[in-house]
């Protein structure tokens, strides 16, 4: 096989893996948007906050230590213990559930029946608050997140694919972390699908997504469902935070992955879980392949930064509901 073709395949595989990470973030948006019609701008910050909390708990950091030091003139920073990553993850899940309860109690409950734009603004406020709160709680320096996931290229894959090409081809380079991310994402999507199809809470969730009045009439508590949805979105954010954090460190820029999720949603549709996955994969593969075939050779490179948005723009013009979204029908 010609090497050029093999490189293209490698680029595509890596694109798929990157797409999985985009899809993970987009998934959190879809969950909340479907059930409450709220576009949660804070989803990216949730991922950052979850990752910060996980690292902080793991390392035994003292929360608000900067604040405490500044007020009392002390020099505390660590408890001096390390918590096993599994326990730390369980604790972080608990924190995200608590966060969902607080969001419902102090924001959503007071904004029931307000126009969507008001709720959207509220999530922007929430995003900035959480960003500052996360910094205050755990400090703003860049942290490394290591929960024992395999990292670096897989030699096994490289060795076993090297024969495909000629002298200059050393086999496919695929990051093992990306493979783990893909598997985790697949399990997560499968679990969410089973949950929403076969449990009574899942059914209630779909019911609320469809019609609030009818949901009330069969005895579903909207508040409970909102807490449930935001908690699930928080857990999805944690998974996204772990994957992105392991890859590129836990830092402020993690919250900006939310912006990468936007084009994914435009492609896949805001209300479709499969749409979020397929949209993520298309964007991941598309931007890598575009960079490889057109961007780098002809346009001077760095096309990955804008390719997704141009693609989303094209979708907005020709198919505004996305690939899988609810069809927009204007009744006259």
């Amino acid at each position: 096989m010609p090497d050029q073709f093999l490189f293209a395949i490698e680029v595509m595989i890596n694109g798929l893996m990157a797409g999985v990470l985009y899809a993970l973030v987009a998934l959190g948006f879809v969950l909340i948007f479907k059930s409450s019609g709220i576009f949660n701008y804070a989803q990216g910050v949730f991922a950052l906050f979850a990752a910060l909390t996980l690292v902080g708990l793991q390392e035994g950091q003292i929360p608000f230590s900067h604040l405490i030091n500044a007020i009392f003139g002390t020099h505390i920073h660590h408890f001096g213990w390390h918590i096993h990553s599994v326990i730390a993850i369980a604790m972080t899940v608990a924190v995200m559930v608590l966060l969902a309860i607080l969001v419902e109690r102090y924001i959503l409950r007071h904004l029931v029946n307000q126009p969507d734009i008001i709720l959207f603004m509220a999530t922007i406020g929430l995003a900035y608050f959480m960003e500052g709160f996360g910094d205050l709680m755990w400090g703003s320096e860049i942290k490394t997140l290591d929960i024992g996931l395999p990292q670096g290229g897989s030699f096994w894959i490289e060795e076993n694919t090297a024969w495909l090409g000629g002298e200059n081809f050393y086999g496919f380079f695929i990051d093992r972390l990306d493979i783990v991310a893909a598997i985790v994402a697949a399990i997560l999507v499968l679990a969410l699908t089973l949950f929403s199809q076969y449990t009574k809470q899942g059914r209630a969730l779909r019911a609320v997504a469809d019609d609030h009045q009818a949901a009330l009439s069969v005895g579903i508590s909207l508040r409970y469902i909102w807490v449930l949805v935001w908690a699930i979105a928080g857990i999805v954010a944690l998974v996204a935070g772990i994957m992105w954090g392991s890859k590129s460190g836990v830092q402020f820029s993690l919250s900006l992955i939310a912006l990468k999720a936007l084009p994914v949603l435009m492609l896949g549709g805001f209300t479709s879980i499969p749409g979020a996955i397929v949209g993520g994969l298309i964007i991941g593969v598309g931007e890598k392949l575009f960079e490889f075939t057109i961007g780098a050779p002809f346009l001077g490179g760095a096309t990955e930064n804008w390719f997704a948005y141009v693609l989303a723009l094209l979708f907005l013009v020709f198919r505004p509901q996305g690939l899988f979204g609810d069809k927009i029908i204007e009744r006259v």
Partner: protein
Amino acid sequence: MKDTIDSYVTADGRTIGGVMMEMKNITLRFGGVVAIKDISFDIREGEIRAIIGPNGAGKSSMLNVISGFYHPQEGEVWFRGERRPTMKPHNVARQGIARTFQNIALFNGMSVLDNVMTGRLTQMKTGIIAQSLWYGRAQKEEFQNREIVEKIIDFLEIQHIRKTPVGRLPYGLKKRVELARALAAEPKLLLLDEPMAGMNVEEKEDMSRFILDANDEFGTTIALIEHDMGVVMDLSDRVVVMDYGKKIGDGTPEEVRNNQAVIDAYLGVAHD
């Protein structure tokens, strides 16, 4: 006369029990508009109670008060011998009061079966952890409830559309699915807001039959709003008549038919 006795047997042999729900001096306002003005009536165990009146009389508002969607400014709601505090609609549903809506409120993206299954939510007790793990008790509960739902689906003759997404169904069938979802909750009191609106004669006959059968077989107490007078006179044991938010008549179909105030409200009176 019937208000003073505990229970009686109807001409067609059904037993009507004591008072299940009592509305006492209900007044409901929206800003300056008085939708319901000082209305009292009761609903007895096992009966079919109709609420009729011209458009804008406040019938739907009354149904919304019973189901907790509206909260009256004055008056008391008594249910099964206890005064009901101000309650959210989902808690009213959990007390055993199911309803349908005038403009059909179904879950359009879900199948008929799933829609009817949501009617069972109030009856399912296992928590989220057990449900998520799908372990013994949760699984058993799902199957038991599924069985009841299948029975209701058979009863309403909608087996052939079990798996169809509700959004694709024609109007008449949607109305029937909505009734199925309400019945699935095994309600003590079933509220039907214009169950036959917009239906043709054949569909109306079917729906009347289902309502009578549900009342007869499951012993469900039913309160319904309906405009078709023929249907109301055939179906109901007692009728409340409303006009401009006030009660102008209450009694058996015959009594109401001969009530001068009711005749005036429907046909209009000459003011001279």
